[in-house]
Subunit: 126 residues, 2 copies
DNA sequence: ATAATATGCAAGTATTTGCTTACAAATATA
DNA sequence: TATATTTGTAAGCAAATACTTGCATATTAT
């Protein structure tokens, strides 16, 4: 059962993403988390273990209870990875926008009667 | 084999993340991608299928080749999800910083020689 | 037309995942 | 102390994953 254990893997599961959302604001103990889901406590326990193994969760023992606190900073790894591509896709969108605007400008120019030149010159589809 | 198929799942696999990185700048055909990896072409083909099924990849047929183009915008889903938490964790950091600064201020006030008081009072290492 | 190339699809396998039930251990409460 | 509560660990299982090898199909080049 020695598997790859990283943040990307951890957040791939929708239940685990829900757990993160559930405890993002304040630490919650295991049973309280489990009660929110249809699956067994043990199943949730395993999810918590996975979150914990990749550093997304810190479990603080408090008597017989365990308070689960999410370490949101760990998500920075994902943020950074996505961010590099966000730059690219927004860059592309900007470039596209610029291109479209440039085209508009050109076609306006083309449409506009050009000073001292017959319009007939530019009429075939190039 | 009808499985959950979403972006989070797709980027969970390191090979798929590598593929994304590989074709982020320009579309690449299947074999060229496969050549970069140790695993078989068929294995890569499956990864591409998964990426495609969740909308991260667009495959354009070009003769007998298939150009794989990544749809980076699809990563926005991940970006948004992480972003909401980034706000929280940076918020917490800001709050912490503010708290620490406030504490510093307080302790300086306490340490600070009161007007008209000899400087000698502050000479120990604090 | 024939051979080479690019790729998909199918079958088979080992590993991992997500879950369940059953049992054990530690702590709190009556 | 006896009992209830909170949680972990272990065993078992079905489904999904990540691969592999082998074969089929469409294009392109000779």
């Amino acid at each position: 059962m020695e598997a790859r254990r990283d943040v990307f893997q951890a957040i791939a599961d929708p239940t685990r993403r829900e757990i993160i959302g559930m405890i993002a604001r304040q630490p919650v103990n295991v049973n309280t988390i489990a009660d929110q889901f249809d699956v067994s406590r043990q199943a949730i326990s395993l999810h918590l273990k996975i979150l914990s193994e990749c550093g997304l969760l810190h479990i603080k023992q408090s008597g017989r209870e365990r308070l689960c606190e999410v370490k949101l900073e760990k998500l920075n790894e994902v943020h950074e990875w996505v961010q590099q591509y966000k730059k690219m896709w927004t860059g592309k969108l900007k470039a596209l926008k610029a291109f479209v605007e440039q085209e508009e400008l050109q076609s306006k120019k083309a449409d506009a009667p050009i000073k001292k030149q017959s319009k007939k010159i530019r009429n075939g589809k190039s």
